[in-house]
Symmetry: C2
Subunit: 264 residues, 2 copies
């Protein structure tokens, strides 16, 4: 009973370690959730950054952290291990990191540990609804996994269990679906700008590209000169890109899409 | 007066040449527009494909086409020139093609010709609102350009004049923003599948990636290991992709994003 004291009141006591984008969004959702008590946020700065709700307790000394059911580490991958080692825990305090590409066992100094990885991109300027965001979880024990799952279900409708290897695969796929997709638009915008064309003209196309994926799988949604093996058009495009950094990317991706064509 | 006879009734008389996706969407929007009279559709098949409204006149003999203010050629790039040559026109009949990467002058056999290129991806299964779709136009004379602009403004709020070279640049940029973006999702889905993970978990991320571009320009929206120059994570990802077709694409794009980092 004593071990579960915080659940006695029906609240999960949580500390957030970090003050970046993810820490910010967690703080917002935790503050608004009646089953969660956000105990405090740890950061290296003297005071809590001003975008955070100023009623949140702030602590800039890791050794002075209050006891919590969950310590959620939201710092850069390189610092997770180092910072986690400074947190003092008992069996009942679960230390979590939120990284897609960091193995769970960097936290193995703690008897109870796990991973809580929301599959989404976060920026402080933009509100986000957690309900739809899949959260990939992992833990060192079934008992902890249940607790982490419970925490996940308070935020999202889509909690999934994934091993460290599966999580790395999710992270790589997210790089393609988010970072590289955005970069495709960076290139598109550069081409337009260098031809004195307003970059906003691509917005409806960008929206429709995503919309289509709601009712078609990505392979069936593939269109364009490469999937049609339309060499003439590809040559015209490569001619236009000659001498630019984008030539190689166009060539490499088109080659791969052409292979997809042969598969179908 | 006689020359403009069709405008006398306030209607633009249009013939569509082709029965593909674009022809289908044009037919739908033309049928619903009170200023446009869709005279007929030309196709090679014996009858009009059944997805089209069956009240539309259909013709499968190019030499028997009725006179129209606009002949809108919606066929594959390779056939535009050949098909256009078979259409008999007077000065007052404007022949248009809708291709992003085909020069206007393939239509120069006709006294009045031009380009009408909607910057969007079309599939028959999905309804689309033309109002938002930018249409890039070009013409061989100012007089015709005005008429084409008028036609464009009946469909869309965003009609822009673009030279053949600018249009090619728009088309290349659309390949990046649409085809290559979709292919990034194809890769992401393949990685997930080969790790036994439901591909739907990426949907919220894909939506948010596009959403962000409504309030951030693409360069500022760039995130991920490459823009942070996070070599450790990039190496983990490349290790996971080793031996797959996606290795080279990951490597090539990451290298280019890293350059962007140095620019900023």
């Amino acid at each position: 009973m004593n071990e579960h004291y915080s659940y006695f009141y029906g609240l999960m006591n949580i500390s957030i370690i970090g003050t970046g984008n993810l820490a910010f969004h967690f703080s917002e959702i935790f503050m608004s959730n009646i089953d969660i008590n956000l105990i405090e946020i740890f950061g290296r700065k003297k005071t809590l950054p001003k975008e955070f709700n100023n009623s949140i307790n702030y602590c800039n000394c890791l050794t002075k952290l209050k006891e919590a059911d969950f310590y959620i580490i939201c710092v850069s991958d390189d610092y997770i291990k180092k910072i986690s080692k400074k947190i003092t825990t008992k069996r009942n305090n679960i230390v979590l990191h939120c990284s897609g590409s960091t193995k769970m066992d960097v936290l193995s100094d703690h008897l109870s540990h796990g991973v809580f990885y929301p599959i989404q991109t976060f920026s402080k300027e933009k509100k986000i609804s957690f309900k739809e965001i899949p959260i990939a979880i992992e833990s060192n024990s079934d008992r902890n996994l249940k607790k982490i799952r419970k925490l996940g279900s308070l935020l999202s409708e889509k909690v999934l269990i994934a091993s460290s290897n599966q999580r790395l695969a999710i992270h790589v796929s997210a790089v393609f679906a988010n970072n590289f997709t955005n970069y495709m638009r960076v290139i598109a915008d550069e081409i337009l700008k260098s031809n004195s064309i307003d970059t906003n003209i691509l917005n409806p196309l960008t929206v429709e590209t995503t919309e289509k994926l709601k009712f078609l799988n990505s392979k069936n949604a593939q269109t364009g000169p490469a999937i049609r093996n339309d060499i003439k058009t590809i040559k015209k495009h490569l001619h236009l890109l000659k001498g630019s950094n984008h030539f190689k990317i166009y060539e490499t991706i088109s080659k791969e899409i052409t292979k997809l064509n042969n598969e179908l």
